[in-house]
Every structure is written in C-alpha cells, then in structure tokens.
Symmetry: C2
Subunit: 205 residues, 2 copies
C-alpha cells in the first residue's frame, strides 16, 4: 500500500529533513501560508530537489498528517477499561499534556487542519469516530458502575482534548497572559496540577 521504504541512505536523510522542515513551516504558517521555498530553505536544499522527493506541496502535507495521526491517538488507545477509572482519566490527561509539550508543532498542524474544516482528513475522521465511540462506551460503563460521575463521555473526551491541546495551540496567548515571570516557565506543571484538581474534584470548595 504505502510506498516501499526509502532505499538509499541519501533518501532517508533528505526525506527526514524535508518532513522536519515542512512540519516547522506548516505548523507556523498553515498549509496555504507555507511556501515550497521556505520549506526547501529550512531543509537546506533547493526547491527542485525538494520536489524530487515529494512531487507536490500537498503530498508533503498529507505525509505529515498521516504520520501525525498514527501516534496522535495513542494516549486515548491506552485508556484501559479495567483500570481504576479516575486514575485512568488523570493518566490520560497527563499523557495528552505531555504530548502538547513535546509535540506542539504537530498539535498546531492538526489544529490548523481541523480549524479549516479538515478537508484532507475526512477518511481518518471515520476511524477517529470509531475509536472515540469505543472509549466512550468504556467511560459509560465506569459511570454505570458508580465509579465515575454520570457525564456524557464524548463531551468528557472533548474537554480533555481542549484543555490539554490548548497549551500547544494557544501557546502564544498562554505565554502572553502569564507574562515573562516564572509562571510561564512552569505552565505545563501548573496545568497538570490544576487539571487534575478540576477533573477529579471540580471547583467546589
């Protein structure tokens, strides 16, 4: 199905360099805002050479999205039905927050895509729905067993996505609001602490 693995050493190096550069540029400027010249410059090669490895701008973008989706949902997949519900959810939040810190560019790339209606990932959305529906059933089971408050599982998942990815996608705003002081530097730890409190106990005193 997928193209056979890169044959030569040079191909491996250059394809990796291009994807790294494209991730940087796409995540900053969006698909339309990114130019092949920018990506080529960032990757340290000429534009025709870049196009020798990827036949079009869109193909680079697709490849990035494909690779991203592959790992993006791992934290959700890791939600274990037989774990302790609250602990499982807190662990999920921590994993998502960790990804927001480790892979902010991937998060922004994805956010950009969805923000514009996700025109390139209609198929993948179907798979996403299947996965989410399955995990929603798990959560519903937890609620039914009295181990979790009775909440809409889909919206619970949305709220976890929203609160964690916010720290990657809206980093500019987060940092601007927190200012230059130490609070901005510890924002991920502070967020983890706050979100655990929020999701477990809410805001009631």
């Amino acid at each position: 199905m997928a193209a056979p693995k890169p044959r030569t050493r040079i191909q491996q190096i250059n394809i990796a360099a291009i994807l790294e550069a494209a991730l940087e540029v796409f995540s900053q400027a969006g698909f339309r805002g990114a130019t092949l010249d920018q990506i080529a410059a960032e990757a340290g090669m000429s534009k025709p050479n870049l196009l020798y490895y990827f036949r079009s701008k869109e193909i680079i973008h697709r490849e990035l999205i494909d690779r991203l989706l592959d790992t993006w949902l791992d934290p959700l997949r890791a939600l274990k039905p037989d774990g302790e519900p609250i602990a499982e959810i807190v662990a999920y939040i921590r994993r998502k927050l960790e990804m927001a810190r480790e892979f902010p560019r991937e998060s922004r790339l994805f956010a950009n895509e969805i923000l514009h209606g996700g025109p390139h990932i209609q198929d993948e959305m179907k798979d996403l729905k299947v996965l989410v529906d399955r995990k929603a059933e798990v959560i519903r089971g937890w609620s039914a067993a009295g181990k979790l408050a009775e909440v809409d599982p889909h919206h619970l998942i949305f709220s976890i996505w929203a609160t964690t990815q916010h720290y990657a996608d809206f980093d500019a705003q987060v940092c601007a609001v927190l200012g230059d002081d130490a609070r901005a530097a510890t924002r991920f730890e502070d967020a983890a602490c706050y979100l655990e409190q929020l999701f477990v106990n809410g805001l009631k005193p």
Copy 2:
C-alpha cells in the same frame, strides 16, 4: 483616533458587506489562504471596488480583529467580584459557550491568529493580560474566602476558554465524532450540561 464614521449610506452598506464577507472567508481559509477575489465575490463587488474601501488585505483583517476583540472579552469583564463564585463561573462558561455558538467565525478567526503566534495583535495581548490578571485576583479572593477550591486562577480561565471555544474552533471534529445523529444537533446544550458538572463537581462519583 479611529477614522470618522462612514459618511454616506453607500459606504455603510459596502463596508458592512465587505467585513461580513471577509469574516466568512478569513475564518474559513485563514489570512494567507483568503484571497481578495474571494472576499470581493462574497461581498458581491469587484476587487478594485473592495480596495476602494479598504486599501489593503491586511487593513481588512486588522479591522475585523479590532472589532472582534472589542466584544470578545465582554463575558470575562462581566465576571462580578461580589457575585456567588460558583454561580459566576458557571454563568461565565454559559456565556462563552453561547458566543461559540453564535459567533463561530469570529472564534475561528481569533484562533487562527493565535495559532500563528498572533503577529497582528501583540498590543492587544497586553490589555488582555491586564484584564485576566485582574480577574485572576478576584478568583484568588474567592478561593481565599473558602468559596472556591484552591486553584490557579489563570489556568482556570484557560480551561474555560479552551473547553468552550473548542466547540467553535474544532466544530468539524466535534461533528465528525458525534456523527450525524441527534447528538450532533444538541451538542451545545449537552456541552453546557457536561461542563457545568465538570467545573462544579468534577468527575468523582
């Protein structure tokens, strides 16, 4: 400071039509992805005529952002220090959710801007920080008075922004995951209900 109000009737009509069209196009395609031709077509006029009213693409964008920011923070401003804390926060969440439903294009326009580092709104970010810091103090006071859990007020505000704007910015994903059934149709009501539960009581059974 601002240009004197549109003089003529025609100016009022056309400027309004342009801003409406630009909001539509910018929010769908982003700044770079939007073209003057698209905006002009959407506004039902020729490109040179559009440029007669706004001298450049960037000026249209600035005007939209300016008008947006004017009202975007109203819900936060409305947070009353002498209200009942939990009720005030729930009311804030409902207002933000209402805005996500009523003004999804504005939300996406703003999200796009922040996602790309907010290059056009550095100044406005300063004002934002001032407002948030002030409201954070109010929240801290509520916690100190024992009327609210002890949480980081800034991150509390972030989580409200994230969870509510998610329904505007990531609408494509939300609808894809909820599917075609009635659940997608009632997503805002369901979200309001879920978020109230989450923020007040958390997920503990």
